[in-house]
Amino acid sequence: MKILVGIKRVVDYNVRVRVLNDGSGVDTDGVKMSVNPFDEIALEEALRIKEAGNAEEVIVVSAGGDECQQQLRTGLAMGADRAIQIQTSESLQPLSVARALLKIIEREQPGLVILGKQAIDGDNSQTGQMLAALWDRPQATFASKMVLNGDTATITREVDAGLETIEVDLPAVVTVDLRMNEPRFVKLPDIMKAKRKPLDVISLGDLGVSVDGNLKIHHFAPPPQRQKGIMVEDTAQLVQELKNRGLI
């Protein structure tokens, strides 16, 4: 079985993102970029499945400009066997990404597709669900545990009410949550080795996918700021303050 893992290049989670003064976007100048944290978890899970002898090949895929090759190389250094860049200069909305991933699926015929539950830039949380719909295969979102049993998988999902378990036939799309695993660190020799691993580039147009834009983003604004409040000296003052405000 092959496993396909989607990787998105995003602003690192430690960066305090700032909106540009003219409202045209957020400041990404000189800002640290990383693999979307959920995608590292997705890749880690794929690698563990392969290491357990349940998959032969792990392929990382990213749709974006050439700069996303950096994140694909990180994926190769973590242990993926090869990488595919779906090249585009446009910023894609989830439906276009899902359509492009479907084209890759048709070529590669993976038994499992693992994505992050959300990209921490757009916070959309849509791509995996859309891919499952277009592919007409099962979806298991927000997964924190996955057990493969031949042609099916049992998946634990983190939902608002607790932990839900579902069973899906393979192939399927799984999107992972933070508690699935802890991604490994990349070691220096692996970075060297990754440089020799195959990275194929294919343009979005050649896949026959057009950029979909039913939604237009007009303006970026900083969020309303909460005013810094007061500091109290001790617990008694805290209780008094809460009483004064009618909160207890």
């Binding site: 989670y13 305090r16 993102v17 700032r18 957020v26 989830p94 439906l95 830039d121 916070d123 959309n124 949380s125 849509q126 791509t127 669900q129 859309m130 891919l131 499952a132 719909a133 295969r137 099962p138 979806q139 979102t141 927000f142 999902r157 983190e158 939902v159 608002d160 009410a161 607790g162 932990l163 839900e164 378990t165 579902i166 069973e167 899906v168 036939d169 933070l178 508690r179 834009g213 039913n214 939604l215 237009k216 983003i217 007009h218 303006h219 604004a221 969020p223 909460r226 810094k228 409040g229 007061i230 500091m231 109290v232 617990t235 003052q237 805290l238 209780v239 303050e241 909160l247 207890i248």
Partner: protein
Amino acid sequence: MSNILIIAEHDGEALNISTAKCVSCAQAIGGDIHIAVLGDGIDSIAAEAAALDSVGKVIAVNAGHLAAPLAANWAPEVISLAADYSLILGPSTTFGRDLMPHIAALAGVNQISDIMEVNGPASFKRPIYAGNAIIDVEAAEGVKIVATARTASWKAAGASGSAEVEQRPAGSSAAGHTRYVGLETAGGERPDLQSATKVVSGGRALGSEENFAMIYSLADKLGAGVGASRAAVDAGYCPNDMQVGQTGKIISPDLYLAFGISGAIQHVTGIKDAGTIVAVNKDTEAPIFEISDIGLAGDLFSVIPELESLLG
């Protein structure tokens, strides 16, 4: 004018409060508001939905394969109802986040996630980058809109209405490839985080599952719900469904009390809509104090017992 179809969230017993919040969002958009209640044995839930203010009609679809809200089964059913509607709306809960993008893809459109404010019938505000930026998103003319309402941004609509309930036969059949096995809930009698007016939350500083009991005890004294940071959940001090933040629950209680939580951006994004934020942290430099209304620099292991005794 929009024709809005809201997809009801429920657990097979009762309507989730997220549905009444979607109704408020739909009221702000304006237009005819209908609610679809899918499930198996849902008559009392459909009646609850019909009582929500400004709802014109409830469509109830009872079928065995709709008993659990599996997107593989629910999305095609919603699509079979969708022709008459210009906007399909669900909540930003895990239920809605799982289901709605599947519906959007079947309808061939991108989804508008997490509507926090309505500019006009096809223009909305939503947060991105963990709430560090708010964008205006506009949908193209005449194209169906599929969206989720950010539950923390909307108050539950009232329940003094009396809409007609129309029973419809299922327009879809079971996908078969996806099967529901079960749900494990932490249970308990405490108020649900999404609807609690007070929430007491604990972070990494609690140090152990045993110590986390202090948070439960204080919460029970206040009649509050219980939340946690990711660090506390990851360390196993409490169940995952208590996590508040970018990847947990986004909540809006009147009072939020954070004990031993540093105030990472991913946590803070989950509590920005709280009425009053109280932070207790022994580090006077902790970022949580930048956004708290009342801060107390102190050791939670002495503050919590003191609070309990002062509250009597």
